[in-house]
C-alpha cells in the first residue's frame, strides 16, 4: 500500500508568541518549531499500516525551507521518502493554498491512502485534509480514531468521532483520504538507526506552483481582550455563594 502522510511544521505549543509588527502574523523568526501534533499521529498510523500491509510511506510537507526539520524527523521515525513543496509564502498560507500546493505535488503519485492530521495547532482551519481530498478527487472521512483496511486492500472501514461520546464506522473504497485525531495510537520514538537511515532517504523538493485559491486575508491579529474586570463577590460565605449562583444563572447563564 502506498501511503502519503501530510505533515505541517508549527510553532512549539507553549512558545510565548507575539504578534508581528505587521499585526497580521506572529513573530516566529526566532521561534522553535515542531511537528503538528495530530500529524505525528497520522504518521504513526501510516507506519503501522505499512508494517501490517507492506508498501511505502511518503511524507509530504508544504512550507518554507525550515520544514526540512520535521521532514527529517518523519524519515527518522520510519517514513521511506519525502516530498517537500517549498515556498516562503506557505509559512502563513491558508488551508486552500496549502492543499493546492500539496495536491500539485501529489497528483502524479497515485497514492492508495492519504493521511493528514485533523487540524493544525497554529491556524486551526481543520480543512487542509478535506480540501485536499476534493482536489485529488478522493473520498474522505474526518476525525478518525481507528483504521481497518479490508483484506483485499480495496476498501477501508474507519471509526469516526462524533460529538459527545458518539462514534460511527464508515466504509469507503480506496484510494481515500483520512484526517487523523490525536491519540489514535501510541507514538514511537525516533531511534539512532532511524536517524542514520534518514540521511540516505530521498527528499524531493519541488517549488510551490501558484494556484488559484479562494482567499482569506488576516486583517489583524490581536490578543483577545478580557471582556470585563473581575467581579469580586463580598459578604459572608453563604451570602457570596448565593450571589454567585444567582449570577451564574442569570447573568452568565452557564447553569
Amino acid at each position: 500500500m502506498k501511503i502519503a502522510v501530510c505533515i505541517k511544521q508549527v510553532v512549539t505549543r507553549d512558545w510565548p508568541l507575539r504578534v508581528a509588527e505587521s499585526a497580521t502574523w506572529v513573530r516566529d523568526d526566532d521561534a522553535s518549531f515542531e511537528m503538528n501534533e495530530p500529524d505525528a499521529y497520522a504518521l504513526e498510523e501510516a507506519l503501522r499500516l505499512k508494517e501490517l500491509l507492506g508498501g511505502e510511506v511518503v511524507v509530504c510537507s508544504a512550507g518554507p525551507a525550515r520544514v526540512s526539520q520535521v521532514i527529517r524527523e518523519a524519515l527518522a521515525r520510519g517514513a521511506d521518502r519525502a516530498i517537500h513543496v517549498e515556498g516562503e509564502a506557505l509559512a502563513a498560507a491558508e488551508a486552500d493554498a496549502v492543499a493546492a500546493a500539496l495536491a500539485g505535488a501529489m497528483e502524479g503519485e497515485s497514492f492508495d491512502l492519504v493521511l493528514t492530521g485533523l487540524q493544525s495547532d497554529d491556524q486551526g482551519f481543520g480543512q487542509t485534509g478535506v480540501v485536499l481530498a476534493e482536489r485529488l478527487g478522493l473520498p474522505h472521512a474526518t476525525i478518525i480514531m481507528e483504521v481497518d483496511v479490508a483484506d483485499d486492500g480495496g476498501s477501508l472501514r474507519v471509526k469516526r468521532e462524533l460529538e459527545s461520546g458518539w462514534f460511527q464506522w464508515v466504509s469507503m473504497p480506496l484510494p481515500a483520504l483520512l484526517t487523523i485525531q490525536s491519540g489514535i495510537n501510541q507514538l514511537r520514538y525516533a531511534t539512532l538507526r532511524g536517524i542514520m537511515a534518514a540521511k540516505r532517504k530521498e527528499i524531493l523538493t519541488v517549488p510551490a506552483q501558484s494556484a488559484e485559491t479562494a482567499g482569506q486575508r488576516i486583517l489583524e491579529l490581536y490578543v483577545p481582550e478580557k471582556s470585563s474586570a473581575t467581579r469580586f463577590i463580598d459578604g459572608s460565605a453563604p451570602e457570596a455563594a448565593r450571589e454567585l449562583v444567582r449570577l451564574l444563572r442569570e447573568e452568565a447563564r452557564v447553569l
Binding site: R13, D14, L17, V19, D96, A99, D121, D122, Q123, G124, F125, G126, Q127, V130, V131, A133, E134, P139, H140, A141, T142, I143, R160, E163, S164, G165, W166, F167, Q168, W169, V170, M172, P173, E212, A214, G215, Q216, R217, I218, L219, L221, Y222, V223, P224, K226, T230, F232, I233, A237, P238, A240, A241, R242, L244, V245, L247, L248, A252, R253, V254
Partner: protein, 321 residues
C-alpha cells in the same frame, strides 16, 4: 441573502442551528435556512418559527444518513440556484466533515470556527481564534460570493434567535443525487464510554488545586462537580501527587480547555495553568489570597476559605433547585 445551513440528526435539530440563525439575524440581512435530509418537513416547520425569510427543505432519500459526498452534491445545487452572498454553518463535526469540500468544489472561501462577525472599514469580517486561542484574528474573505463561515458553538446564544410574527414559508428544494456516486457507507452511530475523559468536550469544569490540602478533602470538590453537572479537573500538583489521574490536569503540560464554566478552587493561577483554561467563557475563582493571579483572568471571584465557600455554594444550589 444569507443562507444558514441547519443541522439535524435522527429527527432532531442540532440546537447549535438556532445559534447560527441568531448570528445571521444580527447582520440585519434577509435569511434563508436550508435543512438537508430524507424527510425533514417536520423539522423545517420547526425552523420556520424563527424570524427568517424562508426555509428550504432539501430532501432526497440518498441524503439520509449523512455522508460528505451526498451533502456536498446536494448543497452545491442549492447554492447555484439560491445564489446567497454568505453561507453560515454551526461549527459542528459534521460541518467540519463536508463544508470545506463544498467550498472547494465551488471555488469559494470557507472561514471556520468563528466567534463573531463584524463590519470593519465597510467590509464584513469574521473573528476567529488562532494559535489555540492565544490570538484572535479579523479575517476578510476574498474572492467571489458566496463566502462560507462557520460559528463556534456557544458563540451566539440560541435564545437570542428572534421568532417571526408568523411562520416563514417552507419550500422544497429539489436536488438530484446519484446514490451510487456516494462513496462513504456510514453505519449507525453508537455511544462508547471513553477510556479517557475528554475534558476538552466538557461544558462545565470544576478544577481543584493545592488549596484542597489533602487527598482526603477531594470529595469537597467532587461533590461540587456533581452538583454542577461538571467534570472534575485539577492543577498539576494534584495530579502529580496521584490524587487524580494525569488526564485531568489542565495546563501547558495537560489539557487545554474552553468550557462554558470553569470554577477554580484553591488554584493560584500560575501561567502554566492559565494557558490551559484562559479560553473558558466564564471563569470563577475561589481563593483565600486576594492577590492570587487566578483573579486576573476570573470573571467572578470569591476571596475566602474554600472549605467554607464550597459547601455554601452547594447549599445555594440546592436551596434554589
Amino acid at each position: 441573502m444569507i443562507l444558514v445551513v441547519a443541522e439535524q440528526r435522527g429527527g432532531a435539530l442540532n440546537p447549535a442551528t438556532w445559534e447560527t440563525v441568531a448570528a445571521a439575524q444580527q447582520t440585519g440581512e434577509s435569511i434563508t435556512v436550508a435543512l438537508v435530509g430524507a424527510d425533514v418537513q417536520k423539522l423545517a416547520a420547526e425552523l420556520a418559527a424563527a424570524e427568517v425569510a424562508e426555509v428550504l427543505a432539501v430532501e432526497h432519500d440518498a441524503l439520509e444518513p449523512y455522508t460528505p459526498d451526498g451533502f456536498v452534491a446536494a448543497l452545491a445545487q442549492v447554492m447555484e440556484k439560491a445564489c446567497p452572498e454568505l453561507v453560515l454553518f454551526p461549527h459542528t463535526y459534521q460541518t467540519r466533515d463536508y463544508a470545506p469540500a463544498l467550498a472547494a468544489r465551488l471555488g469559494r472561501v470557507f472561514i471556520p470556527d468563528c466567534i463573531a462577525s463584524k463590519v470593519r472599514d465597510g467590509q464584513r469580517v469574521f473573528v476567529r481564534p488562532m494559535f489555540q486561542g492565544k490570538f484572535m484574528a479579523d479575517v476578510l474573505p476574498q474572492g467571489p460570493a458566496p463566502h462560507f463561515a462557520s460559528f463556534q458553538i456557544g458563540a451566539c446564544r440560541a435564545d437570542a434567535c428572534a421568532r417571526g410574527a408568523a411562520p416563514a414559508p417552507v419550500r422544497e428544494a429539489a436536488v438530484e443525487i446519484d446514490a451510487a456516486a456516494i462513496r462513504q457507507r456510514p453505519e449507525a452511530p453508537f455511544k462508547e464510554a471513553k477510556q479517557a475523559v475528554d475534558l476538552t468536550q466538557a461544558e462545565r469544569i470544576v478544577a481543584v488545586g493545592r488549596g484542597i490540602k489533602g487527598q482526603e478533602h477531594l470529595p469537597v470538590a467532587q461533590d461540587l462537580a456533581k452538583a454542577l453537572d461538571a467534570e472534575l479537573a485539577a492543577s498539576r500538583p494534584i495530579c502529580d501527587s496521584g490524587w487524580l489521574p494525569m488526564d485531568r490536569q489542565i495546563g501547558s503540560s495537560g489539557q487545554t480547555v474552553a468550557p462554558k464554566l470553569y470554577l477554580a478552587v484553591g488554584i493560584s493561577g500560575a501561567i502554566q495553568h492559565l494557558v490551559g483554561m484562559k479560553g473558558a467563557r466564564t471563569i470563577v475563582a475561589v481563593n483565600k489570597d486576594a492577590d492570587a493571579p487566578i483573579f486576573e483572568v476570573a470573571d467572578y471571584g470569591i476571596v475566602g476559605d474554600l472549605f467554607e465557600v464550597v459547601p455554601a455554594i452547594m447549599a445555594a444550589l440546592e436551596g434554589e433547585a
